[in-house]
Symmetry: D4
Subunit: 219 residues, 8 copies
């Protein structure tokens, strides 16, 4: 188990992280952490390691791209001074290129800007902590050569992996965790619109996170 | 234009037809026809052929399978005695095999029951009218060899086509109408969850319907 | 078809244009364009010309007169820099002289101010684009020599036509489109209060617009 | 003043009478009489003739035609045993022929059925009381030769007058009361949709009623 | 009839005047004048004198004392520049001395302050118009020597009368109008809590007002 | 203290007893006893005599007259088999003769019916328990020779006293308890509409009740 | 892992099981299983063993005692014919003896009735399946010799254990699972009112359940 | 009775004092004092001593610690200039160390800061009045050696007693008042979550307060 006593673990991201958390500060009881993977991670940390007293903070905001994270990085991450930082961002950066509507180009965050911005944010936070986790933004759809968004999401995922390697972050391949399930469950069973996971999808995310930090399930 | 003066055109189906129509009877002003393709068809019929006085009735109910249609066919179709009857059913028959949850087999309507039931309903209505339109149930997702539900939907669509041919119904291939758009717009732009279309998706359905009945757009 | 690839088409007007659009910016999916003629125009543009990628923006605001448009022209039109601009305004300018209550004269916009202001707005926008459409503000009531508001609306409609000719705008005679229907449908079937059209009325407006820009319905 | 001490005055009709009255029984304080002309009549009766102790009962129901009145005449009129009975019905009988939608003929109540039914109801009530008032159903629109519904409403109004004469009822020509105002106020100032009057329109109705029963305004 | 063509009549007061009027400006259709005596006055003015085009404005605010009127006199009266001004104030000035709770003396407006302030407001408005009406604040309870608030209300009413005489205003004795009814109707039939009148009570107020301005009921 | 261990105390009456209690059965925590004098009595019984384990049940229903009590006596009183029974009824029996509206005579319960019915109910319950308390129905208004309802309420109160004497019930003179306060607090401070008491009024009722059963406040 | 392919696992109990599940049938997506331990169990079963296709059904109802379970056992358990059955009941059986209010003895389910009823239900279900799990009803409060409810809950827990042994059921000691956490977290951190657990408390319950059925967390 | 005529009694504290009082100022009728012990104290003061005209003000705010009181002492206490001041604070100071979550140390108010701050506030207010009452913050749970929060609450209670002695304040031992009841009623009967009392718990608090100020219950 990598986390140590009284450390603060901060999650930042988009709607998949947000999940109706308390605003402006997502910490504490009464669903303050939202109802997604962050809450599951917190509950298992408290259930298995109550003696550690880990503080979990949720700073996800629905609809965010990496461009939005940049705008609030100082207030929502740096001033929080976390011991551990988990970042999962990118679905909206790509989605806006395909959905509502694809023609509004100023809402798109292309891969160069994505890589550049995410790298800069990681570098800035490394001045505070070496404990940074990068999760690929998951897209819940079958692998499909004809699916353009599926292909683009994979490219963004590769960027995340590349940054993790370059900057020495822990890397969590959420797509790999999902692919294992996909052999038995259709994508729509896990995420109605292929983007927002239900309890099953969030549990997969939480498991991937906890496994990466050396969580002992049998403790 | 196939429809004649003072004829009654009745639509039956699932949530794609329903679209929050008035219950129990979907006819009249004030959104009584719902906000989907049925309403668009009605508005264009009234705008281009006001002299015909076509009555449009919406009898769609969200979540219905062909098994549900069978249970209410007498009340919602036969007693209405329509001059024209349009049927679009099948997405839930298939979806239940993939989504919520696929393990509840008694909610599934397999292809044999689907074919048998739909054929019987068409035969029963043919005693009242020869003017029956069969629309394939659309699934808004890219053609994909790996996508099991996509494949199964196409099989059900073929059954619809077969019944139309056997029973002498007008056949509307909604999937073909959609595929044309797909070259330029990603599926999620048309149907958030790949099943429930937005205004663009409903307009495609309405266009396919109106074209099939010989609607003159320039009138 | 007059519109070309990736152009932006902006609609401005009053409640007939607004139709509960997203505020402050009316663009995108999820009913952001409202539920009136603007949404119908957008859906048909995307359904028939998906390859063009036309951006449609709705800037209508309920209750507006041309005086209100003037106050927000810089922010809502000029800074948007549209390639195509459609203006439909005037019903409130006249209505306030007849309804609630006719005695509050400072709410009236008389025909001189109407003509002067609308001309100035068109001239200002012509510095950005030559593609301006002027739609007459429709009043859904039978032609009637005894009806004073009917008579006044026609005068305002003539002003719109005159400005279109003087400034070289495309002119859309919504009243003419309506009169054709009126032979078979009573006015109240199209607009409950003779001002706010229902789906039929909005379809008539959308058809008039699309026909004017050379829309190919059979594409 | 025709009404005498402790008499019961019952109003029956459609939405113009109903005006959100208490259901099932419209009598008493706290807006039980609704917010239309019935409430104004009651307030003036109590303000000018408190010593008479007149009971006012409102049995209007929105959307009713004379066919609906017939169905509930026994329960809502006969068993109430009123000393005075006021009937205003007919707008929906005609409106359904013009609005939502004109093609649904089974919702129409044509003039023969209207005359026959209303006559029968009056005859039945005359067994209880001789004090019956018939009000023409008002339509708030300018007199207009081109307006088909205006013309038809006048025909129904003439039927009301004819029945009043034949059966010896008091006759209230609401349209005449309205026409006087029309010279100075546009119809939309009095009734938004030309059918449901606002405070001004209801005051005109109440005045016509009170004048007919010999109300002394200066008492 | 004292009011002349196109004049503006402004009412100011407390909750009895307010009656849920539109805020901040109470003028126009759609219940903008509230549902009390102001609305009744307006409806009768428009019904009997439509040719005059009287503008009626309601500036009542619930809970106000004369001290509150003073604070907003400039904005709500002077800048409105009315041709006719009607003032009814004082119930809260007295009520606070008896109800909630009587011990909070800083909420009380004693008779000296009341007289002084009301006189000053009238004097200020007389610079704009000579047409000022003063209505005594009504308290709907039986005359009762044991009732301290009843006694005090009468003292405040006498002050209103005195100011009307000194400043040459029209004086409306609402209490006298009420006393006439009281012989036949118990106070609670007119005002549930003896302060806020229902439709009957408001009709009595409106009648008293209209009679004072020479309103012709038979016109 | 008259109540003994594990006894059940049942209150029945109108809105003053009801006070938004749980329906159909008013017993237990979470405001099941309503927010009036019954709840105060219960809280003091539990606070001062927790060892007794008294069960308190509230069976008040808003708007009830003694006629209504009779209709539900079997279900709400007899089958409950209370050890102690407290009855406070009569305000609506009288109020209906004065308020809404006084002309609806079939809603009135005159003093003969009142006396007869209440006596019968008491006699019926005496077969179950000798411990019956009769509270006079309070009317929160100054004693006033001119006030007809005040006078009638006192007559009904005298009937309650007479029945208590004849049937050997404990008698609680709520009016006397109120009169003591009246020397210092105006009636409106205790009951907004003179019928429904606030916290102060309910506390006076609870005190009168507790004093009558020998409650020791200093325990 | 004890569960096998396509088996149905049914949970029955009180509010801790219910957690706002879908009614009347708790099965499927969209929070149909509620937001408590049942949902966590289901998500982990689907995430780790998607190939098994386990059906999870939630039949908990808030406020139930074992007496309530008995009343609905036939409909909610026997007709469901589960392969696995998990029962957690008893907190309300005890709580009613201590809380709201303790004096209402007919709401209490004493230990003899509890043991007898639960045994009978288990015996009845054993005719259908041998796979029955009994969970002790958890009470989230520190062990405390002075706490009477704590002591009584432990007695009921012992009864559960005894039945499990006698009837050959799997036994889950939820209290033991909780006690481990209690060394580091105060009871109120896990259950606000000591009865209804939050996410942490439900995670502890789910873990205890999954461990008992041989769940492989690392799969 | 210690309070004298026309004195102002101000209560300050946390949610137990707040109880949904009017904001920003808690004084007057219509539940302005909330529904807790403050309202009960006020009602009994007015019921037994109406001649004194005591003003009661509630300045409790939910969630407050003594640190929060300090921040608003000037505005909510000093400028109110009370004759009597009652302070009950501390439950949140301690609770945050145990509940949501205990790991967020910046929300804790440890005993040194508590003592120091409360002493300073008392000293500051003593410059205005000598009549200060200090109530211990009650925690509704059985005395329990294993209960850490119970133990800590008692330490804070001792600090309150110590300050009362040092500064010459009246001291109210709410815990002692509660312990007396505890012999017969389980803690959960009085406070659902052991912190927020119900009507019984608030009555115990009000009784302790009134007894301390020499209230005569039999007056």
């Amino acid at each position: 188990m990598l986390l140590e006593q009284r450390q603060k673990l901060l999650f930042i991201g988009d709607s998949v992280t947000d999940c109706d958390r308390a605003k402006p500060h997502g910490e504490g009881l009464f669903h303050a952490l939202g109802n997604g993977y962050v809450s599951i991670v917190d509950a298992f940390l408290k259930a298995n390691y109550p003696e550690l007293g880990i503080r979990v903070v949720n700073k996800g905001i629905s609809g965010n791209t990496v461009r939005d994270l940049k705008a609030r990085w100082q207030e929502d991450v740096i001033t929080q001074n976390p011991d551990w930082l988990s970042i999962m961002i990118g679905i909206n950066d790509v989605w806006r290129q395909f959905d509502s509507p694809p023609f509004i180009k100023d809402h798109h965050v292309y891969i160069e800007e994505y890589q550049e911005t995410l790298t800069a944010l990681v570098k800035e936070s490394k001045l505070q902590t070496e404990n940074i986790l990068l999760m690929t933004p998951p897209y819940y759809i079958e692998i499909n050569e004809n699916d353009l968004m599926r292909a683009k999401m994979d490219q963004y995922g590769k960027v995340v992996k590349q940054i993790a390697e370059e900057e020495g972050c822990l890397f969590i391949d959420t797509q790999a965790a999902f692919n294992k399930i996909l052999k038995n469950l259709y994508a729509a069973t896990i995420a109605w619109d292929r983007v927002h996971p239900n309890e099953i999808g969030h549990t997969i995310l939480a498991k991937a996170f906890l496994n990466k930090i050396g969580f002992d399930w049998t403790k």
